[in-house]
């Protein structure tokens, strides 16, 4: 098992390296650079100024030269400075947003799991019951309603009309500390959290329902029941473990997806996370930031998948790695 994990981690290295080459190449081949867009903002600024800055930033060098400069700094952990957020280091820009994205991602994942799995199981055990129909209806609702629309509705009714939840941001004032800050953040996270978690909840619920239904109909469950095993044991010992396998696969990917940030949700709630930063960096051609975020996402997705593979072997003893 350990051998397997080490082998997998070693494979990460060439994969990440390939990722840097591809993303860097694409980022720099895109027309324009970080200063092209800025240069139109103020016609009083002499375009020569931007030409000098381009030279200073090395943007006029050939792409391989720029790549080499970037990668040799990056392997030493230096991701450079943003070209748009004048004078700010990439690490600093990402740090603050990464924490926000992490909290929001875990919060919505927690909501998803807590809500989806029990309801999914219940629906499967009592198919065609009132709650099952309700859950199915909710599932289709959750999958079909666009994120931004649900977010705006939530803001309009729960925040502006009823005043239960704050509409924007991560905290109500700067300078909160301790538990006060924790609960304040949690309060702010609620609306974006359910908005982000809605589609996931619906998906997981549907998966869980069909998986459990499927497993419940299989021969070994009939055997287990026949040998007089209690219904609880049938469910938890035999059914759930088998039903969870596809869910784990989903979650492996989900880690990357959640942490890559949810652009639309972040935008609607002005929740400063990685998603909006990534998007704006791509449109602004701020390639040091683009590269750093792409690397983080690459690492997270690889780790997510590795974790999923490890969890398989825990949930399902038939799966072994050596």
């Amino acid at each position: 098992m350990y051998k397997y994990i080490i082998r997998r981690v070693l494979v990460f290295i060439p994969m990440l390296f390939a990722l840097t080459v591809i993303v860097f190449g694409l980022a720099l081949l895109a027309p324009g650079d970080a200063l092209t867009g800025q240069s139109l903002a103020d016609p009083n600024v002499d375009p020569e100024v931007y030409e000098q800055q381009r030279e200073a930033l090395g943007l006029n060098d050939p792409i391989p030269v720029q790549y080499f400069r970037w990668i040799s700094a990056a392997v030493q952990g230096d991701f450079g400075n943003s070209m748009v957020f004048n004078g700010r280091s990439v690490a600093e820009l990402i740090e603050a947003r990464f924490a926000n994205t992490l909290y929001l991602g875990l919060f919505s994942l927690a909501i998803t799991i807590i809500v989806a799995i029990p309801i999914g199981i219940y629906s499967a055990r009592h198919p065609y019951s009132l709650l099952d129909y309700g859950a199915t209806g909710f599932g289709f609702f959750g999958l079909s309603i666009p994120n931004f629309f649900f977010g705006l509705m939530a803001i309009y009714f729960l925040s502006i009309k009823l005043g239960w939840f704050p509409a924007q941001g991560t905290m109500s004032t700067p300078g909160l500390t301790g538990w006060e800050a924790f609960f304040n953040r949690l309060h702010h996270m609620f609306l974006p959290g359910i908005t982000l978690g809605l589609a996931g909840t619906a998906t997981y619920m549907r998966y869980m329902r069909s998986e459990v239904l499927d497993v419940l109909g299989s021969d070994y469950i009939r055997t287990a029941r026949a040998k007089g095993m209690s219904e609880r044991n049938v469910l938890y010992k035999h059914t759930l473990r088998n039903a969870l396998i596809p869910i784990i696969t989903l979650m492996g990917f989900e880690i990357g997806v959640l942490l890559s940030g949810a652009v639309i949700t972040e935008q609607v709630f002005q929740y400063p996370g990685l998603g909006t930063l990534f998007l704006s960096s791509v449109t602004n051609r701020d390639y040091p930031v683009v590269m750093a975020i792409a690397m983080i996402l690459g690492v997270l997705i690889l780790i997510g998948n590795l974790l999923a593979d490890i969890f398989y072997s825990i949930v399902d003893p038939r799966i072994r790695y050596d």
């Binding site: 027309p31 324009g32 650079d33 800025q38 240069s39 139109l40 103020d42 016609p43 009083n44 600024v45 002499d46 375009p47 100024v49 030409e51 000098q52 800055q53 748009v84 957020f85 004048n86 004078g87 700010r88 280091s89 603050a96 947003r97 924490a99 909290y103 875990l106 927690a110 799991i113 705006l152 803001i155 502006i160 005043g163 509409a167 924007q168 941001g169 991560t170 905290m171 004032t173 700067p174 300078g175 909160l176 500390t177 301790g178 800050a181 924790f182 953040r185 609880r232 044991n233 938890y236 010992k237 759930l240 473990r241 935008q267 609607v268 002005q270 400063p272 449109t283 602004n284 051609r285």
Partner: protein
């Protein structure tokens, strides 16, 4: 069974850890700023104003919340900031020696008076006495010298600075900037409160040049220019020091920016205790204005024109509408550059290749007549804008509508002009052919980003097709890619859309329309126009504003006749604010004017 309990426990632990992580992170990042106590206890003066029986005099105290739709990038230093969102903070915290009034004339600010020598090569300014920085240090002429020295110094541009325009005309700029000498002759402190600016040549825009915001020497004096952008006094709330009526004291990055009053402000203690900027999504802004969570929506984007009526209908919200300093245009690519020139970045009008059809004046004029610009303003901007005919901001003394051709919507005339130019429909397909009888297709290019502009493109195409010009409406391009192609104009482009937001300092249009200007994307090459723009800036005649007015009228007439671009519309700025906010007096260029006189009635 056991496994499941374990799973549950793991989950709980995870949640708990998440909680601790969050709590820990917070206590690290945001230590509570000690509230400056002298500001919270309000002494005698408060009572005075409160005792006045209900005659609504200004009251001390209170907090105001403003909203902007995008967070500032975070460089809170006048010499390095780049965008309007940062300006929303800096407008409150930093000041220049002179500022502009409602007529865009310059008036005293940190400098109380000045004398300019005969040939306008020198200006000596007397500074206000008793001005202090937010940290209590006195403001002196040395700060002024330092600020201009900083933007003149070698490495300023490489460090990310773009405000060299304020310094390039100073005496000895070239030598100092290239590092040839350490001697900075351009700005000299005569004594603590007197400063002299010396210019290499007679300077027509002398007051504009001395209007730059001043930064403190006692903070940045020993910091190398390359390190100023990442210096704590540039980035961190509480450490940014200016002379303005408010100090930038606290921030929740990308969410909230808190300005606290500078009680010792030289122009009188501000009424408000705090102004809080919140970053709010455009779609939520109106809801929050309605329920009172935010008090004002102002620069840079204001209230969208489409929402004007909704906001106007709110009882507690007032609206101020004024013309913006910018315009949108449909330009003609009159010339293209050669591949070699694009490669080398050269802008040499002699090498340019005329773009067939678009270089014909009659065609350009016909297109202007074919477009109903008033209809675009009425329908796209809901009437909150104006049709302009000269590329000078209407607020300026230089703007002269009467010198221009109005190009009222007149499809008949458009048809006649096209016929006259020899572009007629010879094969009865409903579209005109070129004089050589070949198929004539004009392409129209436009960028994404500005929703109104995007919406205007198909409308323009329709207007032009209505007079028989076949339009190839290209797919819109993302802004950065668009600008790249617009600049490197060795392509087949004919028509392009772009918008400009002009400065309020001086109306000189040469940066956008002189033939060798990089932003002259149409590559308009008209020697008369170039000459007029030069004349209007030529000393000593141009010291007289009336002379410049004359030259600019002549130029505007020429522009509108030769028509390198159809000016589509100038949008209005719509500011909305809660009626509890009093004392608002926006300048033509900004809402953030004299905030020390703003006050709230509870």
């Amino acid at each position: 069974m056991f496994k499941r309990v374990k799973l549950g426990i793991t989950l709980l632990i995870l949640l708990f850890l998440l909680g601790i992580l969050m709590a820990a992170c917070n206590s690290e990042t945001t230590d509570p700023e000690p509230e400056e106590p002298e500001e919270t206890e309000e002494p005698a003066e408060t009572d005075e104003s409160e005792e006045e029986p209900a005659d609504e005099g200004p009251q001390m105290g209170g907090t105001l919340t403003g909203a902007m739709d995008t967070a500032p990038a975070g460089v809170f230093n006048p010499i390095f900031y780049q965008e309007a969102y940062e300006a929303n903070i800096l407008d409150f915290t930093h000041e220049g020696l002179v500022s502009q009034n409602e007529e865009l004339g310059f008036e005293p600010n940190l400098a109380k008076e000045w004398t300019i020598n005969e040939d306008q090569t020198e200006i000596t300014l007397k500074l206000e006495e008793g001005v202090t920085w937010h940290d209590g240090e006195p403001f002196t002429a040395e700060d002024v010298v330092f600020t201009y020295k900083a933007i003149s110094s070698p490495g300023y541009v490489e460090a990310g600075g773009i405000r060299t325009d304020y310094a390039v005309r100073l005496l000895g700029y070239e030598a100092f900037n290239s590092g040839e000498t350490d001697e900075f002759e351009g700005v000299v402190a005569e004594d603590d409160l007197t400063v002299t600016f010396k210019f290499a040549e007679p300077n027509v825009t002398i007051l504009k040049d001395v209007s730059f915001s001043i930064i403190p020497e006692h903070i940045f004096g020993d910091v190398p220019i390359a390190e100023i952008p990442s210096h704590p006094a540039t980035l961190n709330a509480g450490e940014v020091i200016g002379t303005g009526p408010f100090q930038f004291t606290e921030m929740l990055e990308r969410e909230q920016y808190v300005l606290t009053k500078h009680a010792d402000y030289w122009n009188g203690e501000p009424y408000l205790d705090q102004i809080v900027w919140r970053v709010v999504d455009q779609s939520v802004m109106l809801g929050l204005l309605e329920n009172g969570e935010i008090d004002f929506i102002a620069d840079p984007n204001g209230v969208p024109a489409a929402d004007f009526e909704t906001v106007e209908a709110l009882d507690h919200v007032k609206i101020i509408e004024q013309t913006d300093f910018g315009y949108q245009l449909m330009g003609f690519k009159m010339n293209h550059r050669t591949d070699a020139d694009v490669e080398s970045g050269a802008l040499n009008p002699d090498n340019w290749v005329p773009n067939e059809d678009m270089s014909v004046q009659l065609i350009r004029q016909a297109m202007a007549y074919a477009i109903d610009r008033q209809a675009i303003v009425d329908n796209l901007l809901y009437g909150h804008g104006s049709v302009i005919n000269a590329p000078v901001a209407q607020q300026f003394w230089a703007y002269d509508e009467s010198a221009t051709t109005a190009y009222e919507y007149d499809p008949e005339k458009a048809n006649a002009l096209l016929d006259e130019a020899g572009y007629v429909d010879t094969n009865d397909d409903g579209f005109r052919e070129t004089p050589d009888g070949e198929e004539w297709i004009v392409n129209l290019n436009y960028p994404t980003g500005n929703k109104l502009r995007e919406a205007s493109a198909p409308i323009l195409a329709q207007f032009l097709e209505a007079v028989g010009i076949k339009i190839d409406l290209r797919q819109p391009k993302e802004m950065t890619a668009y600008v790249e192609e617009l600049t490197n104009d060795n392509t087949d482009w004919d028509l392009y859309l772009i918008g400009w937001s002009l400065g309020s300092g001086d109306p000189d249009p040469s940066g956008l329309w002189k033939s060798d200007a990089a932003y002259n994307f149409g590559r308009w090459n008209n020697p008369d126009s170039d000459q007029l723009m030069l004349d209007a800036m030529k000393a000593p005649e141009a010291f007289e504003q009336s002379y410049r007015e004359e030259k600019y009228s002549e130029w505007q007439g020429l522009f509108s006749e030769d028509l390198p671009a159809v000016l589509l519309y100038a949008q209005n700025k719509i500011y909305g604010f809660n009626e509890r906010l009093n004392g608002v007096n926006p300048m033509p260029y900004s809402f953030n004017n004299d905030p020390h006189l703003w006050w709230v009635s509870e």
